[in-house]
């Protein structure tokens, strides 16, 4: 009589063991990946774009069986564009949530705060927007920071080349007065020197400045025949409105800041004449991959109806490719351990991505998957960002 319960227990154990083996991959603990980005504040739209790019890639990977036989799950934290908050969030994601890779946001200062922690904790950190040169070129002996985005120093070379193409001989610099502006001041000076062009002047402005006429008037007096613009959408809009008031038809070549918001709504008609660097645009003729990703975006996020809802495309496209590259690295590493994943990043490729086909995206000497040849120049047309076709 007292044997029956024992039998039952054994039967139960056997059943459990059999069951565990038969459980589909997806029911195991997921592989977590983290995102630390601005989900609120002026740059909230950037965090939304990155989230969408990552999520669409994750959906694709999970539909194909996940990675290491496990589902991928995204864990997001808001850095509020604040470096201290970003660092706390990254630490929490790595130490408590045990994420395999941390993805970063739009703000270079936040990413710069996370870089030393990522290298110290041996946690792979993937930049998908912030373009500050030293984020990936950080001098660490074991560098855990990778990036699928533009690099300021290379963008500055591209901006100078674009201005020269438009016939500029003496461009002026209009820069936001913060570390991002400073990093580009150095880069633009270097690129101008390399191209043998003098600068007409260097002017700065604050994020909340309304009237940039005094700065622009100085550059005009200095003989500027083109302007380089480095600023986010709000001050950039004030720059073009001031140009409009002055009636000065000087060509403007811009870093990608204005793409982060409603540049034409805020800046008026003159905003449509600004050349802007981007890594990707969903406008124009798309590759089959581009069509597929756009369709997936529309299906998952019904609020995306027109192409103006997928601007800025860079956040979506960079995040999408970066997520796939990270999944390939995790699969290659066969584990989610930081050092193994880092080593695997060097071994992946070729991968046919959204922005381009990555032959060998990363090597010990190069942690940036995109190079100058991958940048495109675009303009706003109404609310949409379209590639220049010249």
């Amino acid at each position: 009589m007292d044997r029956r319960p024992v039998l039952h227990r054994r039967a139960l154990l056997v059943a459990l063991a059999l069951g565990a083996a038969a459980v589909p991959a997806a029911a195991q603990d997921p592989v977590k990946v983290g995102l630390v980005a601005a989900l609120s504040g002026q740059s909230a739209k950037s965090g939304e774009a990155i989230t969408r790019g990552l999520q669409v890639a994750i959906d694709e990977i999970n539909a194909g069986g996940g990675v290491l036989g496990r589902r991928i799950e995204l864990v997001r934290r808001d850095d509020e564009s604040n470096p201290a908050k970003g660092l706390v969030a990254a630490r929490e994601l790595v130490q408590r949530e045990k994420v395999a890779v941390v993805f970063g946001g739009i703000d270079t200062p936040v990413s710069m705060a996370i870089v030393p922690f990522a290298n110290g904790a041996k946690a792979p950190f993937m930049g998908v927007w912030a373009a500050g040169t030293p984020i990936t070129r950080n001098g660490a002996a074991e560098n855990y920071v990778f990036r699928v985005s533009a690099v300021d120093e290379l963008v500055d070379e591209a901006l100078v080349a674009q201005a020269a193409r438009k016939g500029a001989r003496k461009p002026g610099l209009m820069l936001i007065n913060n570390p991002w502006g400073e990093s580009n001041e150095a880069g633009l000076k270097k690129a101008l020197a390399a191209a043998g062009l003098p600068a007409a002047g260097i002017e700065k402005f604050g994020n909340d400045d309304i009237d940039m006429v005094p700065q622009l008037a100085r550059l005009r007096e200095g003989g500027a025949d083109a302007l380089f613009l480095v600023a986010n959408v709000q001050p950039a809009a004030q720059v073009v409105r001031s140009l409009d008031r002055m009636g000065w038809p000087v060509p403007v070549v811009s870093h990608w800041g204005p793409a982060g918001g409603r540049f034409t709504e805020l800046g008026g008609p003159r905003a449509e004449t600004v050349d802007m660097v981007q890594t990707y645009s969903f406008s124009g003729r798309l590759s089959p991959k581009g069509e597929a990703v756009l369709a997936a975006l529309k299906a998952r996020y019904p609020e995306i109806r027109t192409l103006s809802d997928v601007t800025p495309a860079v956040g979506i496209a960079n995040a999408y490719d970066a997520m796939h590259l990270a999944a390939l690295a995790i699969a290659r590493a066969g584990s989610t351990e930081g050092p193994a994943v880092r080593a695997a990043f060097y071994e992946i490729g070729p991968y046919q991505g959204l922005i381009k086909t990555y032959a060998r995206p990363f090597s010990p000497g190069n942690h940036d998957a995109l190079s100058r040849e991958d940048y495109i120049f675009t303009r706003f047309s109404g609310p949409e960002i379209v590639p220049l076709t010249d």
Binding site: Q42, N177, E203, I210, P214, E221, A237, L266
Partner: protein, 290 residues
């Protein structure tokens, strides 16, 4: 040309500082307290103007009237909840309370309005007109006119009318004023409503030139407070004059020395002016009570 253009844009910019700074003056003149949520009230005017006039599609005059009425109501609320209870206890904590009130409003606005800067269109800020070879939006000329007119009206109101003199009596001696039949509580509450109303007007005037965001009032509020102190917070014409001077110095510094030097030059000028005239350019030292 460089100097002329800086002068004109400096005057337009300075008039905006002056208009917000007048709000600080109004409550100070009546109650010796200051509403540090003034910058947030300016933001409230602009955000409500955008939400009602653009998002909800109300006719603009109606949207502006409603926005200003709500700004005035915000002033009444600030006085009732964040100032009066502390003043009654003889505490100076209204200072921190109004700062905190402004932060609460900024964040609530960010939550309700959204995080993206939006444009408040105005026919007065669409096409520039050319004056003396300079391009200006008509609105840039309207703002100094409004600022100077409001300052003049306040000055006349307080010096030439019985009502205005009654308000000023409140600050001299509240007890005596009360004995003379002046409703002190009402006078102070009205001054708060007036101060946030002015800030709301400033917000609605500035928004078409810049953009509407939940954070637009923060820096403006601080600069306007510097202007109020430099001008002599007790004097309406002084505050507006200091606003214009602040804007002109800012623009001239940028045009002549370069934008890297703007803040250094401007705040050195603020310190210098306070060292020379500690009570402000137009302020008078009050009688000291021993």
């Amino acid at each position: 040309m460089l100097v002329l253009s800086a002068l004109v844009s400096g005057l337009a910019q300075g008039a905006m500082y002056g208009l917000v700074a007048l709000g600080y003056h109004v409550t100070f003149a009546v109650s010796r307290t200051v509403n540090f949520a003034q910058g947030s009230a300016m933001m409230l005017g602009a955000v409500l103007g955008y939400v009602l006039g653009v998002r909800e599609g109300w006719p603009m005059p109606l949207a502006v009237a409603a926005a200003l009425a709500l700004c005035a109501a915000f002033g009444l609320l600030v006085e009732r909840v964040l100032v009066r209870p502390f003043v009654r206890r003889g505490s100076e904590a209204w200072l921190m309370a109004t700062v905190a009130g402004g932060l609460v409003l900024d964040n609530a606005a960010m939550f309700a309005f959204g995080k993206e800067p939006r444009a408040l269109p105005s026919r007065l800020a669409e096409r520039p007109v050319e004056i003396l070879g300079l391009g200006l939006y008509p609105l840039q000329l309207v703002i100094p006119v409004v600022g100077i007119a409001v300052a003049a009206a306040l000055h006349l109101l307080s010096r030439r009318t019985a009502h205005g003199r009654a308000l000023l009596a409140v600050v001299q001696n509240p007890t005596a004023a009360r004995l003379m039949g002046i409703d002190v509580g009402r006078a102070v509450a009205l001054s708060y409503a007036g101060s946030t109303l002015l800030a709301g007007i400033a917000g609605l005037l500035i928004a078409p030139l810049s953009s509407v965001t939940a954070e637009m009032g923060t820096l403006f509020g601080i600069k306007a407070f510097a202007v109020a102190i430099v001008g002599g917070i007790g004097s309406a014409p002084g505050v507006v004059a200091a606003g214009l001077a602040y804007g002109v110095v800012e623009a001239l510094a940028t045009a002549l020395v370069g934008s890297s030097w703007t803040q250094i030059v401007v705040f050195a000028a603020v310190i210098g002016s306070l060292a020379l005239r500690p009570n402000g350019l137009f302020g008078a030292a009050g009688p000291r009570k021993v």
